[in-house]
């Protein structure tokens, strides 16, 4: 017996799988997460993978969470240690009272264990070797065998896993039956030789509801399909490649002319990011909805073109799946670190629209909306995801589409409008909203053509470097950006139960951890109003929120508190009132981290709202 009481918990624990890259463990691990979902219990899984291809360590973590907390929790209750290379670190990471599951085929010296955890050995290699002769089969089925053992240890319903295997290998009977066989090999061995179940258990529940389980990148790609993107140009980069790959897959399914079989889309893998954004700009200039997906280094390369998009007013959609920078940084780790780089991308005075979805459902909605916004505002729209949402499955509300919705193609002057004699000045602010009309190439034989350029020009698109003409144009661009404030998704505010002078601002993938942290902070006696920012430019309610609170914490996943900088810069407020709460080690921010950082600061301020309320 370990010298610490084993953790006992139903539907609320963290399992981490430590594997070797290339061992085929990914699908078994994902099946584990899905199986728990099928029990009606929410899960929040995360891939933790260093930037390497084969042979090096990877981890997959599953947070089992009856309460539906989808942020990372931190700590590990059950470690499935399948990688000898990382053994020491893996064992050290287990919470006191936690469990260690390992392949006991080769005996381990007792020094390799800990006294305060429960060690569970299953001779996985021995079982596989006695059943399979083919080396590849041995490797793959070992994963299913440990899945079987875990199902017994955690009291899971094997039928639900069988069902999943059935769905995965539909029509491939041989694979189906051999996987089910391997599952039961592991399960039966555990039932016969170990004390099952352990303190951690999965019990059927009804907390999943109609929610779906999808990766942010896939949802964003689907948003591009629904949003009417017809041109996609991209260059591979982690963690954004799967956006383009998913877009390709979705298009293949849904975007072919039924009669001719021809594609209603064009996807080009560019030679680099310069070409990708160039293609997007060329296509958008010519009236198609186009996008690219990239990550930090790609954004750096695109900036010259982003400036052109801003100044020449050409729509573009860029999905930026952020990873830890600068430079190559930690390419497979998550951060929200390109806020400033994107908000002010390029040389000269520029400002760009950023959208911050919190989960795949919003990634879908915002991606579709990005095309309307790009055409309405005739500028670059950034969809700011990050690796944590982009490459991990998240539980979220089902995706929704209103069939009556038509695309907002913005202010496009047609042949008829030109024929009617409408005055066309490409950079003429006819409506006072800073947004001019454009024409597509080829519209009219004698009217409406103009020259697009990055050089200064007057309201009728005639080249001019006259100071007042240039300033007039730059001022109109400011007006246009102000117009954008009311077109982009508004911030969402949630107030504390009691009136409070303290607030917290957060955005994007930090959301679930923040939601959970609020509960932890309340338990510590701290009340905070919350504002989730969903876009830049900031809506006026951001300034109001700041005005209404003495201190506002800004929680984000980068070193320099970039969103805070942007808020200070754009609202001209006293930076002292905005307290940075930053987390930037490349792992997703946790509720524990936020609650501690804010709680400590509040304690330091001697904030005692609860005691006051009681007395």
């Amino acid at each position: 017996m370990p010298d610490k009481k084993p953790i006992s918990s139903v539907n609320d624990f963290v399992v981490r799988f430590a594997n070797v890259n290339g061992s085929g463990s990914a699908s078994a691990n994902e099946m584990f997460a899905r199986a728990i979902l099928r029990h009606g219990v929410p899960v929040s899984p995360r891939n933790i993978f260093p930037s390497n291809i084969q042979g090096l360590p990877t981890w997959y973590e599953v947070r089992v969470t009856e309460d539906g907390h989808l942020g990372a929790r931190g700590g590990v209750d059950l470690m499935v240690a399948m990688n000898p290379q990382t053994w020491d670190k893996d064992v050290a990471g287990i919470e006191p009272g936690g469990y260690l599951f390992y392949d006991s085929t080769k005996p381990m010296p007792s020094t390799k264990f800990r006294d305060d955890i429960t060690v569970i050995g299953v001779p996985l290699t021995a079982i596989t070797n006695s059943t399979y002769t083919d080396p590849r089969q041995r490797q793959l089925f070992k994963n299913i065998i440990y899945l079987g053992s875990l199902s017994a240890l955690l009291d899971m319903d094997p039928k639900l896993i069988e069902q999943l295997i059935g769905e995965q290998y539909k029509g491939k009977e041989k694979l189906l039956s051999s996987n089910v066989h391997a599952l039961h090999l592991g399960r039966d061995w555990a039932l016969q030789n170990l004390k099952c179940p352990i303190g951690l258990r999965v019990k059927k529940s009804d907390k999943v509801g109609d929610r779906i389980f999808i990766e942010g990148n896939s949802a964003a790609a689907l948003g591009a399909v629904y949003g009417g993107a017809t041109v996609c140009a991209w260059y591979p980069i982690t963690p954004s490649s799967s956006v383009a790959e998913a877009f390709t897959a979705h298009c293949k399914k849904y975007r072919h002319d039924p009669e001719t079989g021809k594609a209603k889309y064009a996807i080009v893998q560019g030679e680099d990011e310069l070409a990708s954004i160039g293609i997007v700009i060329g296509a958008s200039w010519n009236g198609a909805r186009a996008f690219t997906a990239t990550s930090g280094p790609g954004i750096s390369l695109m900036t010259e073109f982003i400036g052109l998009s801003y100044f020449a007013e050409i729509p573009a959609v860029i999905m930026n799946i952020q990873r830890a920078g600068p430079s190559t940084g930690m390419p497979t780790r998550t951060q929200q670190c390109d806020i400033i780089a994107c908000a002010y991308a390029s040389h000269g005075d520029t400002k760009h629209v950023l959208l911050f979805p919190e989960d795949p459902a919003e990634a879908f909605e915002f991606a579709a909306a990005a095309f309307d916004l790009a055409e309405r505002l005739q500028t670059t729209i950034f969809l700011m995801l990050d690796l944590d949402i982009g490459m991990n499955h998240r539980l979220c509300r089902p995706l929704k589409w209103d069939d009556a919705r038509q695309y907002d193609r913005g202010k496009v002057m047609t042949e008829e409008m030109l024929e009617e004699g409408r005055d066309f000045g490409r950079y003429l602010d006819v409506d006072g909203d800073g947004i001019p009309y454009r024409t597509y190439p080829g519209t009219h034989p004698t009217k409406g053509s103009y020259f697009t350029r990055g050089t200064s020009r007057d309201r009728y698109a005639r080249y001019s470097e006259e100071g007042p003409v240039y300033a007039d144009n730059m001022q109109r661009l400011v007006r246009k950006f102000e117009t954008a404030q009311d077109l982009v998704p508004r911030p969402l505010q949630a107030n504390a139960e009691r009136p409070t002078k303290y607030g917290v601002i957060y955005f994007g993938s930090t959301s679930p951890a923040m939601d959970e942290a609020i509960g932890l902070l309340e338990a510590r006696g701290h009340q905070l109003d919350r504002l989730r920012i969903r876009a830049f430019p900031f809506h006026s309610s951001v300034a109001s929120f700041l005005a209404e609170h003495d201190f506002v914490y800004v929680v984000e996943q980068n070193r320099d508190s970039q969103l805070r900088q942007l808020i200070v810069n754009e609202n001209g407020i006293d930076p002292v009132r905005l307290v940075p709460i930053v987390h930037y080690d490349g792992t997703p921010i946790t509720a524990r981290f936020i609650a501690k950082a804010i709680g400590d600061h509040q304690d330091h301020l001697k904030v005692t709202p609860l005691r006051k309320a009681v007395s």
Partner: protein, 351 residues
């Protein structure tokens, strides 16, 4: 540079083409390039070619990078949309534009600095993708707009205006275009309108990536002794493999040419190129032959001009991607959006 629009006045007696357009309809603004710049002659040839082809001016999209050469789209086809993009990146912008609407004619204009240096990659990739375009490089061997630095097409051993000798090897864009699979490859000289006009016309008619390298002397910085891109040098070293005529919508008049030296090339759209061969052995359908021919003459210091290679049955990027005939920029939600019922099914598959 100032903005000067040409007066709208048309002489009533101006000749009209099949569509009723006059020359003036193919003109643009008044050029602000140096008087005598080779680029202006290319502008004139483009105007001439479009007039002769009876193209609807507004159905052309003219796209360029940055440089003196890249300014020229402002000086022709004033009724078509132009796009002066960023330095070296015309090809990607053109590719995107072409993907959005396959029904327009795409003219890409670039300089040798634009295409052989900063944009070398984009040049190469647009060619290898087979984008349906006419890609013209106005090649003067220097950076004109930034005042006379060597470009990557400057020959080794040639001298700058200040007397500096170029020690780097030159990039021959024609050789590269051939190697990359361009389906229409030509070289010409801005001072040889008789050769250049039909070449541009044939390139526009060609379906696929057409590339024309036009040697275009820079009066200001590269027209001195010691330059290999000066008017005098090119005239002395020019060796044309053929002269051609483009015949659209009428029967070829083969009798115009001496029998045995005329070769007719019929393109995808039915237009015909009549090649009057100067070099009797030259076969413009032989990519490998063209490559060696070019290399052999380059070694002798000769500049080979004419239509060097053509594949009349070329396919373009849209065919490679199997896209619908309807321009993508005209598709709306009804054509593109799979709808809520499909989304419900997708949702169901994600549980």
């Amino acid at each position: 540079m100032t903005y000067i629009a040409k007066p709208k006045f048309h002489h009533p007696g101006l000749k009209k083409n099949e569509l009723g357009y006059t020359h003036r309809d193919y003109e643009g603004k008044i050029s602000t390039l140096c008087a005598g710049c080779g680029h202006d002659s290319i502008t004139a040839s483009i105007i001439e070619a479009c007039y002769e082809l009876s193209i609807e001016p507004h159905r052309v999209a003219k796209i360029s990078g940055i440089g003196c050469s890249s300014k020229t789209p402002d000086y022709f086809l004033g009724n078509s949309h132009g796009f002066n993009s960023v330095h070296g990146r015309m090809p990607s912008v053109l590719t995107g534009a072409n993907l959005a609407n396959r029904d327009l004619i795409y003219l890409g204009v670039s300089g040798d600095g634009d295409s052989a240096s900063i944009g070398f990659g984009q040049f190469a990739h647009s060619i290898r993708r087979g984008v349906n375009m006419t890609y013209i490089v106005e090649n003067n061997g220097v950076y004109g707009l930034t005042k006379g630095q060597f470009s990557a097409t400057a020959d080794r051993g040639s001298k700058s205006k200040k007397g500096v000798t170029n020690t780097d090897n030159a990039i021959d864009l024609v050789a590269i275009a051939l190697q990359l699979g361009a389906t229409f490859v030509a070289r010409s000289f801005s001072g040889d309108k008789a050769q250049l006009v039909p070449l541009i016309a044939a390139a526009i008619r060609h379906k696929g990536a057409s590339f024309i390298d036009v040697i275009s002397p820079c009066i200001a910085f590269n027209n001195h002794a010691g330059s290999t891109k000066s008017f005098d040098y090119v005239r002395e070293h020019n060796d044309a493999v053929n002269r051609l005529d483009v015949l659209v919508g009428r029967d070829p008049i083969a009798v115009d040419y001496a029998p045995g030296t005329v070769q007719m090339v019929e393109q995808h759209d039915g237009s015909k190129i009549a090649l009057r061969k100067i070099d009797a052995d030259y076969d413009p359908h032989d990519r490998l032959g063209a490559q060696t021919f070019l290399a052999r003459h380059a070694a002798k210091g000769q500049i080979v001009t004419g239509l060097l290679y053509v594949d009349p049955d070329a396919e373009d990027l849209h065919e490679h991607l199997n896209t619908v005939e309807t321009p993508l920029n005209t598709l709306e939600a009804d054509d593109l959006c799979p709808g809520s019922a499909v989304l419900d099914k997708i949702n169901a598959s994600l549980r």
